[in-house]
């Protein structure tokens, strides 16, 4: 009878949950490992540092570990639902309860995320930077599969996809243009950033809207313990970040700013040079990040964060006849509420506003033109993390975005006529998605992350479209009233990631995802410019679709001191958009009239070796890849290399901690040249020489390679610290090509005219000195 009653008795389960934070400042620690030794299972904290584990009643040792922090072993007796919040200390703190590690043991091997990588701010700051400006996006571009668009180009390419195919989030707000001054510097001030993660392989279902990757950038929350200040003075810009508690352990604030200042110095000089002919010329950019967070209780926390950045270019010609004022930039505001329903269910609700704008205010004698363009997005998201049983981590939620696209509004006058074309071709859209995913252990060695995302896109009125016949006369005028649905698109996007742990430090991962993209950026030229336009899907412009298959082997050596991986991927891309071969951009007409549509393919292999511990650290990443396109309207449907085709991409990053005061770092990059289209023939019409363009992207620029070196001297005082960083960008002064063009040299009628191919380069050898401080 007793045996029957025992077998019929259910095991009582309780939940242990809580937040993992940095003990020195209260910042939450995302992706901390929370592991239960007794059952060899665990979980990780979510992006807010929250975790939840359901276990049978009993005694356990909970191991908490996170990169750069001392692992903690905490004994727990579980006889009721238990809250366990942990504050982690730095790895220099030693005690008999703690085990020191410099890296998470085997995160790259054990997770199901294939193609996911995280940049630590420590690494980003150690790498030599262009003109001393630490840039997380440039650090990201040193990883295999992630490629720089090139000097002078904003954006980056991931696995053969375009810059618009990467969703870049800053505290959940979409950042449309990630570059200052054509991408020479990113918009992210590293002092304000806590973490940067890229998903380029099997994208989990809670992300969507772009078909190549997601770059999730989180701002710091603000020091909950004490007031601190940090910043730096460099050659091109200075920055300052102040953060601290408005109420200790309850409410904190962070304010961060960065500005270039070359214009402040040249302002006075230009007034005096040549009778002030050049006074009024200037260029500068600035970024402001701000965040406030309030912890009402263990169950409720509210964050409000914002970013505001601008590039401003002003030009006045020496004769005073012409002036140009050209500002552009992003703005974002995010409000979030974390709520813990019970130990198993965590919710985050966000309201976000973000926009990207540019304007050009031009004056020539009595002629004035003012042109504005913008893309705005208002979003609402509800996301849940649910851990019903140990080993299962479920996420589900609903996302909504309202888009407003304003391609161009323009006003102008010349003293005789005035011109206004406001609201021309303005478009409105709703984008909604629901998702569900579950990550769990199927067996001890096989872990699965399976999910699905359902998306819907509605283009709504007011909307007006004029369609033209082949002879240029009007065929039809289509009009829709406010909120009337113009076109609806649906998508079901399956996502699968799996990991087979074949040995303690070895795993094989595989993934598949289908993604839909409803907003698009179609650059007009070979460069990505701040004046490029984002456009929505419409009756003519179908959503882009991407299918990606990935397979990888991950192997660590020497107790995870050395991480290695080989990843293969294959992508099929549908409904891609390019400008037609005879497209001439015209701001008064609908840009989608210029488009042509087709398919693409990208495949490649990524090799990665990283040394994560010791005095010498760094990594080598090599990518061998192809990216092609096939459009019926381009080159008669012949397959051609995409703009993002980069056959070889090699990055070598080395950092050497010589002593506690000195560090030397270096970066070497090598990349096959970008593709471009060049003229292949010349001819005369109307007495003028004209070029006949060759096949799209049929020519390749010379290869790009560059070596950077940096030396840092670090001093740690009792209450403050500083470091002086000297770096050299492009040590051997390689003239890397920015663009190549054909020119006719010589004078007509002198008998000396000839065609020449010219290359323009941007950055020669550039030393810089930066002083960074922290209080």
């Amino acid at each position: 009878m007793t045996v029957l009653s025992v077998s019929a008795q259910k095991e009582t389960k309780y939940t242990i949950s809580g937040y993992i934070k940095d003990g020195s400042n209260g910042e939450s620690l995302m992706s901390s490992i929370v592991y239960v030794n007794e059952i060899s299972k665990g979980t990780t904290t979510n992006e807010y540092g929250f975790y939840s584990l359901q276990l049978p009643a009993g005694k356990y040792t909970i191991k908490i570990s996170y990169v750069g922090y001392a692992t903690q072993l905490l004994p727990v007796t579980l006889d009721k639902d238990t809250k366990l919040n942990v504050e982690m200390g730095p790895s220099s703190v030693l005690s008999k309860e703690v085990v020191v590690t410099a890296e998470r043991k085997d995160a790259n091997v054990s997770s199901t995320n294939i193609g996911r990588q995280e940049i630590t701010m420590e690494n980003a700051k150690a790498i030599p930077a262009l003109l001393g400006e630490v840039d997380i996006l440039k650090t990201l571009q040193l990883l295999p599969g992630v490629q720089a668009a090139g000097e002078g180009n904003s954006g980056f390419y991931v696995r053969g996809g375009g810059p618009d195919q990467n969703l870049v989030l800053l505290d959940e707000a979409t950042v449309y243009n990630t570059g200052h001054l054509f991408g020479f510097f990113s918009v992210f001030n590293s002092d304000a950033i806590k973490s940067v993660t890229i998903e380029k392989g099997s994208m989990p279902a809670n992300y969507g809207g772009r078909i190549s990757s997601v770059v999730d950038v989180k701002m710091k929350e603000g020091n909950m313990k004490k007031w601190t200040a940090e910043g730096g003075i460099g050659i091109i810009a200075s920055r300052l970040t102040i953060q601290g508690p408005l109420k200790k352990d309850k409410c904190s604030i962070m304010l961060s700013g960065r500005r270039t200042y070359i214009d402040l110095f040249t302002k006075e000089i230009l007034k005096k040079v040549q009778d002030g002919k050049f006074a009024g010329n200037s260029y500068y950019f600035y970024d402001i990040n701000a965040k406030i967070n309030y912890r009402f209780s263990d169950k409720d926390r509210v964050y409000i964060s914002g970013y505001f950045g601008r590039d401003v270019f002003k030009f006045k010609d020496p004769d005073g006849q012409f002036s140009l004022d050209f500002p552009w930039g992003n703005s974002t505001v995010t409000a979030r509420w974390n709520h813990v329903f019970d130990e198993k269910l965590f919710m985050n609700t966000s309201l976000v506003y973000n926009d990207y704008r540019f304007a050009a205010n031009i004056k020539f004698l009595d002629v004035k033109f003012d042109v504005k363009s913008s893309i705005q997005q208002i979003s609402a998201k509800i996301d849940y993390d649910y851990s019903p049983i140990i080993g299962h981590l479920m996420k589900f939620g609903i996302h909504y975005n309202h888009h407003i696209f304003t391609p161009y509004t323009a006003t102008g006058s010349d003293g005789t006529n005035s011109f206004k074309n406001s609201n021309a071709n303005k478009k409105y859209a709703h984008e909604t998605a629901v998702y569900f995913l579950d990550e769990f252990d199927v067996t001890k060695w096989f872990r699965l992350n399976i999910g699905v995302r359902g998306s819907m896109f509605n283009l709504v009125g007011p909307y007006k479209k004029i369609e033209f016949n082949e002879n240029g006369s009007v065929k039809d005028t289509i009009q829709f009233a406010l909120d009337q649905v113009v076109k609806t698109y649906f998508g079901i996007e399956p996502r699968i990631g799996m990991r087979f742990q074949v040995a303690k430090a070895t795993s094989i991962k595989a993934g598949f995802h289908m993604t839909k993209q409803y907003v698009h950026l179609v650059p007009v030229s070979n460069s990505t410019l701040p004046t490029d336009l984002w456009v929505p899907s419409s009756p003519n412009v179908k959503p882009q679709t991407g299918l990606q298959y990935s397979l990888g082997v991950f192997q660590n050596f020497k107790d995870n001191m050395i991480e290695t991986s080989v990843e293969l991927y294959y992508k099929d891309l549908f409904n891609l958009i390019e400008n037609g071969q005879s497209a001439v951009s015209n701001i008064n007409y609908d840009v989608e009239d210029l488009y042509t549509y087709g398919r693409g393919r990208a495949y490649g292999s990524e090799f990665f070796v990283k040394k994560a511990k010791g005095r010498w650290t760094g990594w080598i990443g090599y990518t061998l890849a192809w990216s092609t396109r096939k459009f019926p309207g381009i080159d008669n449907g012949k397959t051609f290399p995409s703009k993002y085709d980069r056959r070889h991409d090699l990055n070598v990053v080395l950092m050497w901690d010589v002593s506690k005061h000195w560090r030397i770092s270096s970066t070497f990059v090598y990349a096959s040249g970008n593709t471009t289209t060049l003229p292949v023939a010349i001819y005369y019409v109307g007495g003028n020489i004209h070029y006949e363009w060759g096949d799209r992207n049929s020519w390749r620029l010379p290869a790009y390679h560059r070596l950077d070196l940096g030396v840092s001297y670090m001093v740690q005082k009792k209450k403050w610290s500083y470091d002086i960083n000297f770096s050299i960008y492009n040590v051997y002064n390689r003239q890397n090509p920015y663009f190549v063009y054909l020119a006719i040299k010589g004078e007509p009628g002198k008998g000396n005219q000839k065609a020449v191919l010219k290359q323009s380069s941007l950055f020669p050898i550039l030393p810089s000195l930066t002083w960074n401080f922290k209080f």
């Binding site: 010349d414 109307g686 049929s698």
Partner: protein
């Protein structure tokens, strides 16, 4: 920044994309003053060489065809010898699709004409070609009606352009066969008058802006091209943009400044007189209605992105099958104004 851009701003509301590109170029130009430019060697792919047609037929005027060929960029024809580009001994027929009349064109080359070099140089200017050395006038050849000499002396010939007529052209040159069609549309006119106003800067008091008063027809789907003539000079099209559509301004009355046309080889971006006329000039405006294909050719040609790394590389839209170029039909009217000194 010069008058070219000013005229472009005001006339070309439709090409404000150029304005924005100009902004970007201005910024990058500031950076490029510190950048390096160098010549490099490169192997461009060998292109398929094509015949280039530059043909037109105008109301009350016989057809004229310049037949040239493309050349490889490197190792091809000598850019300093325009004569080398011409294709000779082609068989060209033009047929009036409305009346079924047709004419076989005859090739005339400058070297065979009984005119002094100075006259030949003036003839070339009308084609937009400058003879820099009057002792070495390039031997330009053109195909036209057999009675062209009679046309220049008496003003009449057997075959000439008529409004609302369609024309088909066939060209046989060696093994190549080309065809093209064009329509001379109805001449809509719409130019009410010309006027002028002084240059905005008092120091440039010899220069004036000529204004054209236009009543744009109410229907969308009409296209125009214009040229200007100063005194005894030939007609030249404006360099920035010579063709216009009416999508934005149909049914409206406008007063727009006229950009002075001039040969491309005289382009000087910092010339303060560019686009303006002078006091004392007799200005003639040649305003032609054209069909959509002709508009498309010149619009893409004038925006083909050549030399601009920030522009789309635009493939010029040709209405010639078997080759490239244009067969353009013009319904032309003339307007003039005498600017007092």
């Amino acid at each position: 920044m010069n008058a070219t851009t000013k005229q472009t701003f005001v006339q070309s509301y439709t090409s404000m994309g150029d304005v924005l590109k100009l902004c970007v170029i201005a910024i990058v130009a500031a950076f490029l003053t510190t950048s390096c430019t160098k010549e490099i060697q490169g192997n461009l792919p060998d292109p398929e060489l094509k015949l280039v047609v530059d043909a037109n037929i105008e109301t009350n005027t016989p057809p004229l065809v310049l037949l040239t060929k493309t050349s490889k960029v490197f190792g091809g024809l000598d850019l300093n010898d325009l004569s080398g580009f011409f294709e000779h001994d082609a068989e060209i027929w033009i047929k009036d699709a409305n009346t079924k009349d047709s004419v076989k064109l005859v090739e005339f080359c400058l070297k065979d004409l009984p005119f002094p070099d100075s006259t030949k140089a003036d003839l070339l200017k009308g084609l937009g070609i400058i003879a820099y050395d009057s002792n070495a006038v390039p031997n330009v050849c053109a195909y036209t009606v057999p009675d062209i000499i009679a046309y220049y002396t008496t003003g009449t010939c057997a075959f000439y352009g008529k409004e609302e007529h369609k024309y088909d052209m066939t060209i046989k040159a060696g093994a190549r066969y080309l065809t093209a069609s064009t329509t001379i549309p109805k001449s809509l006119g719409g130019i009410d008058s010309l006027s002028y106003k002084p240059h905005s800067k008092p120091s440039n008091d010899t220069l004036v802006t000529v204004l054209v008063h236009i009543n744009v027809p109410p229907t969308i789907g009409n296209f125009s091209r214009y040229w200007t003539k100063r005194n005894a000079q030939p007609f030249y099209p404006p360099l920035s943009q010579s063709v216009y559509d009416d999508k934005l301004f149909s049914g409206q009355s406008l007063v727009l400044p006229l950009e002075r046309g001039q040969p491309a080889t005289n382009t000087q971006q910092n010339d303060p007189t560019y686009g303006y006329f002078w006091k004392g000039d007799t200005v003639v405006l040649k305003w032609s209605n054209i069909d959509y294909q002709t508009y498309d050719f010149f619009y893409t040609l004038e925006n083909d992105g050549s030399g601009n790394p920030f522009a789309n590389q635009v493939k010029v839209k040709s209405n010639v099958t078997g080759g490239i170029g244009v067969f353009a039909g013009y319904a032309t009217r003339y307007y003039s104004i005498k600017v007092p000194k």
